[in-house]
Each structure stands twice: as structure tokens, then as C-alpha cells.
């Protein structure tokens, strides 16, 4: 499936897509050790392969990452049919391992 999320221009919203679209999450890092431990979309915990359906309105997506190499460059991505759409690229902090996004479903 093609990538569904695009960077939002609306203040306070990170990405947007069409409600009803399927989104799958992935993670990678320089060390190769980064992994998604848990993900919660609009209050509902997801399970591997970290897939969810985009809902209408502005909804929160929280991802808990772990990486055994502190400050290792880590990338959270939308996985789409062999392609990868970067949502965030950051050095991993072991004591702040969550990343939250506000996704707008239009």
C-alpha cells in the first residue's frame, strides 16, 4: 500500500491523511537495535505489525521505542509497500523513550 500520511500545515497537527486509510508503523536505527515496544492510537493499544485505521479528526499516536544504544539515530516511519515515509528522525533518549504525534484524519 502507498504511503498515506503527509506533513500537515495545520498548527498543532503533525501529519494528516484520509480517514479510513490503513497506516503501518516501523522503526529503524543506525545500530539496527531500535524496536517498537508498544504503540497507542487514539487511546487503543496496537499490536505488531503496528497497523491502524486513520480516524476522522485530530487523534494522538504514541509510540514507545527501545534501543540498546543511547543517542543512536533512530527513525520512526510509515511502512508503505516497500517504501518508508519518515515521521521522525532523532537520537534515542533511554529515559524519554516515547514519541507522540497528532494525526489529522480528513
Amino acid at each position: 500500500m502507498a504511503c498515506k500520511l503527509t506533513k500537515s500545515t495545520k498548527p498543532g497537527v503533525d501529519f494528516e491523511g484520509t480517514d479510513g486509510d490503513e497506516v503501518q508503523l516501523g522503526v529503524s536505527s543506525d545500530s539496527g537495535g531500535a524496536t517498537i515496544v508498544a504503540a497507542v492510537y487514539d487511546g487503543v493499544p496496537l499490536s505488531a505489525p503496528w497497523q491502524f485505521t486513520l480516524a476522522a479528526g485530530d487523534k494522538f499516536l504514541t509510540i514507545l521505542i527501545d534501543n540498546p544504544v543511547p543517542r543512536d539515530w533512530t527513525t520512526i516511519q510509515e511502512v508503505c509497500n516497500g517504501k518508508r515515509n519518515t515521521l521522525k528522525h532523532f537520537p534515542f533518549d533511554p529515559t524519554g523513550p516515547t514519541q507522540t504525534f497528532i494525526l489529522g484524519g480528513r
Partner: protein, 516 residues
Amino acid sequence: MTLSRWKKLRPALLVLTSSIFLSSPATAQKYAYPYGVEAKGAPGAVGVDTLASQSPQNRSAEDIKSALSVLDGTNVTKLVFFVSGYKNFIRAIENERNDVQTGSSPGSSGTTSLVSKGVVAEVLSLATERGALSRTDDQTVSTFRGKPTGIARLLKGDEIFPYCAIYDFACESGLARVLGGASFSVSFNTTTNEGTASTSTGTIDNSRVLSATSKQVAGWGVRYDFHVRKKPAEIAKDYGKQFTDTVRQSGAEYATAVQQLLQKFPADQLIAWQAKYVALLQSDATADKGDFTKALSQAVSELADLAQKVDPQFKTRSDLVLTKMSSYFVSRDKLLADYVHKFTFSVSYDNARPASQPSQSSMKFILSARPKGAQITGNATIEWYDHILKSNVSRVRDAQVALELDHTFGQTNAQVNPSLSAGYYFQYMVDNALLTLPSTALAPGTSIPLPGNASELLNTKGPIHLGQVKMTFKIKNSGISFPVALTFSNRTDLIKGNEVRGNFGLTYNLDNLFTK
């Protein structure tokens, strides 16, 4: 110890003490700035530490917005530390740990421990325990255990319990890590001239040795814990596969708590807050590093006020994030301990001073592992007499092996966490036991006078088998535990005959006191 020997040892002790004091600071998760994502030397990253070194005009609005984003995990942690208190986080971490050795060693006259555990308290712990395991002299013993680095941190006023993720090897200095493995213990007899509650069915009347006056210091010991770690690249390989459903569940609860906290922020006010601090951090008022840090303190304080105004439950939600975060960190660290460490073992030297016997030294090897849902601890010990006086008994007194399995029941947020332990202990007495009796004493059970001031207690050579079932009740947020144990043995060290003993204690991990 003679004066000349003390003089020789003094420089070494001074070096050791200075090293402990110098190495005690730990960077850990104590961030350099009160709010904002920190680059901490990650190549190419821009954080508040990078912005602080730039002139205000060169600080881009995008970099500032990114560093201050409340949706970033670092900022969630900093906000929660500000609202709920960093010390509460440390206390929650302490509450989650259950593998701390607080009591005396298994060979003591008063203990509830069949094995010595793999971790000791960070500063000091106190345990009062009643009932010996393999020893005939059954006493009440109070044991202090402590770590020199923890005590040095306490005396210096530094952070005592720097939480470090199990794989964050750069969290503490190399010297702090090396010295952090060292600990000591001192045990005191708190009762003297007590009889025994033994249910012995022994055939030899050796019980009179128990009437001897107990020594005030029941024993002392030093110990070193070794954690041999894998290389980061080795840990990264297959890292994701290590996570169990239990830890993922704990992670999902943590992520849910974070989301519930963030959902309550009013979007428009958050945008206004961000714009205010972008402008402030680009102004000359924050050119100085001190002013820059002050602006970040103000930013986090204002952010917390803003949230508390719109959500009266904000503090409760923040406390929940703290609890869930601690629970996740500890369950992850426990799960990964065996994966991250090639192996973990401890070596300890203990000196026991039992009543009516010469003092005894022992060298113990402790191995600890945590397979699914349980903790396994194994010990192997060799014990020898410090003096054999004028006897002909073997200098090596006994050899011991022990194995214990622990499992904690109940919810992590329960007020009382009970844990069940089951263990087996084997001791082989290499020779007959040696007693120190007055020269006028008679051999036990006979009217034969003993020569000199030492005597061999006949028929005490051979194996001792012990089995133990123990329940430990740990009270949340208090550092207090009540271990209650039932021990079965075929004999004790001085008396042949089956024994059933009750052992109980009260232990207090003083680390908890210092987190209040």
C-alpha cells in the same frame, strides 16, 4: 592490627577513599537542562544544549520548536519529573526491585537467607533476623549492609540513586562503575546466652555449647559484584526479539498514560506558549547560559501551570506516567539483564564469629539469573577456620552449595508484594567441628577433661542437607520486608539429628529513606 601494619595500609586506604569520593557523581538521567530535548553529543543533533552555545540570533525557530515539543519523550519525562518529583520516580524504581540482599549471609547464626542474593542496597540496609540455618547456635542477628559509593554520594550530597538503563554504559564514569560493585556488611548479635528453640532428636548432647556467651559482632564481610557486558553491536542484534508480552503490556500501559497526559493540553494555548519561548530564546535576554537555563525553568513551570488549569487531574495523570514509566523500566531491565550481561556473578568474603567456636572465614561465589517470571540464585562457598588452636582438625571447615528460586506474586501497584522462595542447601563438614572451650571443660556428653583451650566435637563430620520454603512480604513505598521461612534439615553443624526451624525477620532497605 599493629601500628606499623596500619601505617603501611594508610596510603592505600586514602587512595581508595579518595577514589570513591571522586567517582561517586553520576550523570545518569539527570539532564543538564530543566526542559528541552538534549543532543548530548549525538552527531548532527540540535538540542537545547546546542542552542545554549549559539548566539540568540543564530537559533532557528524550527530548532527551538523541535527542542521544546511537549510531544517528545524527553520533554514528557522532564515535565513529569517537574510535576510529580524526580525523587518519586527513584522511589518507584526502588519499589519495583525485589532482588536486594538485605539480611545476613546463610552461614550466620541469625538469617532467613538460604542463598546470598545478586544485588545489595545502594546506601545501607538493616535486617534483624531470628533463627540460624545450618548452625547450631540460634541467635537474633542484626545486619547492616552498605555500598561505599552510595554512602560517599550521600555524604557529598550528590544524587544517591542515579537510575541508569541497563544498557546505558556511559551513564556513570568507568571508575564509579568499578567501585560501584563493592559492598560491605557487619552483623551484630542482639541476644546473648540464649537457648535454642531446636526440636533436635540428636543422640549426642552437644547442646551445652549453646550456653556460651555470644560475641557481640557476629560477623563481617566484603563483597564485589561483577557484571560482564556484551558489546553494544552484539546487544543490538536480535534486541527486539527479547521483549516478552508482559514487558510489551507494561510498555503499552506507559504509552497510554503518556497519551492521556498529553491529550489534555489545550492546543491553542500550547501554540501560544511555544511562540512565547521561541521569541524569548531568540532574544538577547537569553544570550547568557544562566539566563537561557532560567528561561527553560520558567517554560516548564508555565507549561505545568497551563495544564493544571485546564485539567484538575493533571497531577494524578503525571503521577500515573511516573509509576508506569518506572514499572516499564524495571521490568525491561530485569528481562534484559541476562541478555545484556554475558554473565553476572559476585564474590564475597565473610568472617563469622560463632559462639564457642573459633572465628571462620568463607569465600562465596554467587551466580544470579532471571529466566521468565522467576529469579534463580546459586551460591558455592568454602569455609575455613582462622585458627585451629592446638587441634588436629582440618583447616578447611566445610564446603557449601545452595540454589534458590524466587517468584513474586500480585500486581505491581499492590500495597503488599508477596514473593515465594524455595531453596536447597548442601554443606559438607570436612572434619569434626572445632570448639573453643575453657581448659577445665569436659568433652561434650562425657566426663573426660579436654586438653588446652580447644576441642574437637566428635561425630560432626559429614553432610548437612537443608530445604527451605520462604514467604517475603514487601510493603510498597516503605522499604520494609517481612521474611518468614520454614527450614528442614537432617542436622546442624554441631548436632546430629533432624531439625525443623522457623526463621523470621524484619528488613529495612534504608535506600528508601533517602528517596523521601
